[in-house]
């Protein structure tokens, strides 16, 4: 069994690299931008093209596998994680960055079996940084082993977060209340780079001590989540409870102590679960 997931992982890495090449090439051109859920929730043809490319390359080798992809879900596919081997894909994490040519854009590919993540791949293509992790085998950046910072003191922590595409005034108020509470502790500082997958990889690499976000999706953190845990970090819900990939909330931290300190100071706003959309696009099923 383990051997066949290794083969999947190697395929995933090669596909991520190819997808990265397509994205980097497209970065040189003007983008035609469409909107999804809000004027700040952007999508381009590249997002759609790259997702199709990834899924068809995998389907060719593994026709029985399942897929959860950002653009497929946006087009009406279900977002349900079954026991079946499932690829969870964000073809372009950081689409807003991509549109502006701001150099943080990643391909994110995760693979789960029996609802357990077996491996994760995040390729930050402009930086040519390939982050990978295989369950039980550690996390790596371009072949070099990754370790979280191990920081346990929140007052010496660098924390990353994102605003995301939400522009509802009540949600923004919650976002800024959370941010001010953390800065008041104090923490060393906060960063917002524009891609959840890369943000979590910064924590995995020991370059930041915690990431928190409310409102992101399973495809944003499925891969980076295993990368950070294989680097020695922890994942939890924003209330400090166990992490749930579909619940739209995450804290990824260098230690339980830092994660819990973040959880203590933030409140989540309500988000529909990723797997709660089942009824929305139903064809009578």
């Amino acid at each position: 069994m383990a051997d066949s997931w290794q083969e999947c992982m190697e395929l995933g890495i090669s596909i991520a690299r190819n997808a990265g090449k397509v994205i980097c090439k497209a970065l040189q051109n003007e983008q035609s931008v469409m909107l999804k859920t809000s004027p700040a929730d952007l999508v381009t043809e590249t997002d759609q093209k790259v997702e199709k490319m990834i899924i068809s390359a995998i389907k060719e080798k593994f026709p029985t596998h399942s897929f959860i992809g950002e653009e497929s879900v946006a087009a009406g596919a279900q977002c349900v994680l079954t026991d079946n081997p499932t690829w969870i894909i964000d073809p372009v994490d950081g689409t807003t960055n991509f549109v502006h040519r701001f150099p943080f854009v990643a391909v994110s590919i995760a693979f789960a079996v029996n609802k357990v993540t077996e491996f994760g791949i995040v390729y930050s293509c402009k930086e040519d940084k390939m982050y990978t992790a295989r369950k039980g085998k550690g996390a790596f950046l371009n072949g070099v082993k990754l370790n979280v910072s191990g920081q346990t003191d929140i007052t010496k922590s660098l924390v990353i977060t994102e605003v995301g595409p939400e522009r509802d005034p009540k949600i923004l108020k919650t976002f800024f209340t959370n941010l001010e509470k953390l800065l008041n502790i104090p923490i060393h500082g906060f960063r917002a780079v524009g891609t959840a997958a890369t943000d979590v990889c910064f924590v995995a690499a020991g370059e930041a001590d915690a990431y928190y976000h409310i409102g992101l999706h399973c495809w944003d953190i499925a891969a980076a989540g295993i990368i950070v845990t294989e680097a020695g970090g922890v994942l939890m819900d924003t209330d400090g409870g166990p992490f749930d990939m579909m619940c739209r909330r995450i804290i990824a931290a260098s230690s339980r102590a830092v994660g819990e300190a973040v959880a203590k100071h933030i409140r989540a706003f309500p988000c529909a679960r990723d797997d709660e959309q089942i009824g929305v696009h139903a064809n009578g099923n």
Binding site: A40, V99, H100, V163, R167, F176, E180, V193, G206
Partner: protein, 288 residues
């Protein structure tokens, strides 16, 4: 009135200085790259989040001593010299304005956005700027009247005038009292409500300003940065076709501790109108 020949000779002098600045920035960058991998000894300056390391001081000494050797009559304004009590006074004399490590907090955490910034002014006019991203090894340069470049490729700012299509960068500054944080958040919130595409915070003012110069971001605004953060980047942005102004909407004031930079004048003024001031003591407060 100087003839165009005299202007050209005058300007060529500074070309030599800029070449030295580039070499010095690369050497300093290498020292920082080496130190990046190791444990850092951290102290604080004006507040528990205003951090400094031995490497900041070492690199500034290295830069100033190698420049002083070549240009003994020039003057120097450096972040760490200033912290040690030197006056931040800009005279007509050729003056180097240096941030040895822009992004010290990033450096301490090994967060990979750290730069050396070397600006140069004569008769209080900024003549050239060099910013070196120590980890990516990207070299941003600009000399007044001669364009702006990253690794030799010409830079061009974004031409975006519509706030609702803007990607904006900012930084928080060293003040973290609740009243300041309220204004800081309020500014971000107001811009987000104007439907900007997004706001980014990368931890290095000079590198953020370079993103504006390269067109990858449409604007940058900040309260609390210093003249050594602004000096080089202002030339780079102007030479890439962009605008740098005071947060009040007036002309840039190098010592004022604040800036709005944008690809277009419309974007710059829109932001200046939206943001509320956070007051910091001027860099030249003790320079009478």
């Amino acid at each position: 009135m100087a003839s165009s020949e005299e202007n050209e000779m005058y300007s060529k002098q500074w070309e030599g200085c800029m070449e030295i600045a580039v070499q010095t920035a690369r050497t300093a960058g290498q020292v920082i790259r080496e130190a990046f991998k190791h444990e850092k000894e951290v102290s604080t300056k004006s507040s528990p989040v205003d951090l400094v390391t031995e490497t900041d001081r070492l690199v500034e000494d290295l830069i100033i001593s190698s420049l002083r050797e070549k240009y003994p009559s020039h003057r120097f304004i450096g972040e760490e010299s200033s912290a040690a009590g030197e006056k931040c006074l800009l005279t007509d004399n050729p003056t180097w304005i240096i941030d040895p490590i822009d992004g010290t907090c990033n450096f301490i955490h090994s967060f990979p956005m750290v730069a050396v910034s070397i600006g140069f002014a004569v008769n209080k006019e900024l003549e050239f700027g060099v910013i070196y991203h120590c980890l990516d090894e990207n070299l941003y340069t600009a000399r007044k009247g001669h364009g702006a470049f990253c690794n030799g490729i010409q830079l061009q700012v974004s031409k975006e005038t519509d706030m609702s299509k803007a990607l904006i960068l900012t930084e928080i500054g060293a003040k973290r009292d609740p009243a300041t944080l309220k204004i800081f958040s309020g500014n971000m919130e107001r811009l987000l409500k104007a439907q900007v595409h997004g706001i980014r915070v990368i931890g290095s003012a000079t590198l953020a300003l370079c993103q504006v110069a390269s067109g990858a971001a449409d604007a940058y605004y900040q309260f609390g940065l210093h003249c050594w953060d602004i000096a080089a980047a202002a030339v780079i942005i102007r030479e890439a076709g962009g605008n740098v102004i005071d947060t009040s909407g007036g002309p840039l004031d190098l010592m004022s501790r604040r800036i709005v930079a944008a690809g277009t004048v419309e974007m710059a003024h829109y932001i200046a109108r939206e943001i509320q001031t956070i007051t910091y003591e001027r860099d030249d407060h003790n320079a009478n």
